[in-house]
Amino acid sequence: MSDTRDAPSVIERTRPVAAGAAVVGAHFLKRVPAFILGEEAVLVAPEGAAERRVGLHDGGILASAGDGARLVTGGDDGKVVTLDTVGKGSVVAQDAKLRWIDHVAIGPDGAVAWSAGKNVFARTGKGEPRSVEMPSTPGGLAFAPKGVRLAIAHYNGASLWFPKTAAAPERLEWKGSHLSVSFSPDGKFLVTSMQEPVLHGWRLADRKHMRMSGYSAKVRSLDWSADGKWLASAGSEQVIVWPFQSKDGPMGKSPRMLAPYPARAVIVSCHPKEPVVAAGYADGLLLLVRIEDGAEILAKKPGAAPVTALGWRADGAALAFGTEDGEAGVIDLS
């Protein structure tokens, strides 16, 4: 496959944003795109108005999550900060030992979780955060789609924790180091990416294992289609999409291998309504790919650096992206 694609393009619908620094996350606060910079600040970029830098951390920003109504960030200054739709930042927590906040997650009903070292914290509602200590440093956190239940990926498995109860986290075992973690939208499956280039999954009803392999590199990004029927993943020179239509998940089935390209796909983000995945590659190419038939739309040409951030507006009519060398923009897809 060559670098020049004759696919239709939405490049001319892009509003460039001068991020001026590495972009490590892209989210929307209602209709306003917010770009998480590698250090210190969030760049809020409303259409037709001046961009605004909101300082949140005294150092690097290590993790971010957003749900459209607010976003939460964790930094190497030990702070967990939220930003609301009026652009006001507030500190949720400050780690007593100033440890790095490695991961953050945002859940239903205003729940926020983060981890520092082996400690995982969750704040549900207005009360004091609850915490639990894991046997090893978590690789990732994710809230279940319903109820306040947190999945924690770690060495040799994942744990499911109900932070509102005193019960110890429930353990799902699988040897190896588990990194990012994600629930399927129906809450029936839990999938982790691992230090090896594989995904591991559990069907939660019976703890049945699922092993998804064949990647050329560590899978640093995965996301579910809105209907929950597909799991898209980076980590290869194409977008790997696993079928989750049946109760057995992808077991015994082959994944779809979409949008093959000479560079590696490094980040994926699914459209919030349609079975379409945005895929960013190591050379800066950004494609929109229809899962059903693999049709591609060019969203950004290759550049100098990998795509490092993707975020959809809740209605799916806009996509924000950012790269490691500070290229950023918002694509109007209405």
């Binding site: 590495a22 490590v24 590698g38 250090e39 150092g59 690097g60 920003i61 290590l62 190497d76 440890r99 790095w100 490695d102 070292g117 082996k118 090893s136 440093t137 690789g139 060495y155 040897k175 190896g176 180091s177 691992m194 230090q195 090896e196 594989v198 590199a217 560590k218 640093r220 590696r264 190591a282």
Partner: protein, 353 residues
Amino acid sequence: MPEQATAKIPVTVLTGYLGAGKTTLLNRILTEPHGQKFAVIVNEFGEIGIDNDLVVGADEEIFEMNNGCICCTVRGDLVRIIDGLMRRKGRFDAIIVETTGLADPAPVAQTFFMDDAVGAKAKLDAVVTVADAKWLKDRLRDAPEAKNQIAFADVILINKTDLVGTDDLREVEMRIRAINPYAKLHRTERCQVPLPEVLGRNAFDLDRILDIEPEFLVADGDGHDHDHDHEHDGHDHAHAHDHGHPHHGLKHYHDEDMQSLSLRTDKPLDPDKFFPWVQDLVAKEGPSILRAKGILAFKDDPDRFVFQGVHMILDGDHQRPWSADEKRESRIVFIGRKLPEEMIRKGFGSCAI
């Protein structure tokens, strides 16, 4: 391996048994006026008092890889921390990892070869081990970690030399050489060593795999010419202290447990025999092989082939054409625990044509 256009951040690993002086060396590196900025990764339960802007606490989490290889381990905390530090690129020029006294350097080194994200942004520069001149002999007897750190090192500081006499010091050197004849050795008090001797070594750079000649000691009585200034362009040696010592006829030490093995042949190697052999060797003996290095001359191949290994991980590439005045000779060295010498010799010999 995909190459990044941008320069990779060099990473120096400081090891050494408890109390040998790692933190002294670290503070020396950080405070000397060299104009470089460092990010420092220290064990979070370790000593305090490190004077640097960017200090990160690590917890030395060693993760086994799920590839059926018991020695394929990585430091999970380093994967995470280096990924995080790279968000602050521009704030530092190099990374220093200080390990605990009980740490095995292998998982640290393997992290740079096993993790593609770390390997794409950072490169291992050298493993620097600080040894206590007074106590190292005892530790080599009772602490396998101390022996690992010596065997694995690219640079060794024999520190606190002011606390021992000349003969004791030479005995410590001999014991180190019995385990690892390839590391650069420096005698220091309070870790006073010119920083270019510990930083920017490129010890894991395939293009710089030149130092596989053992560093002989002056007094090992083998009649060797001990002029250290003759070979290898670009190395300024700080071995003045080694020169001019009288030959005492000191006995040769042999470590029962850890040895190095050096093989060479001037017959061309058959790549179809060599690669299966070396891969099989590290698959079977990987746990006992700490380091491997080689420069190889293959039949009908105008290029030098260089490789290095840590346990079961091998990394090799064509380097450059053999020059006309160069002897086309293959050399290979292993440092390891109870190496099956005869088997390795025979196997290597059978790869020659």
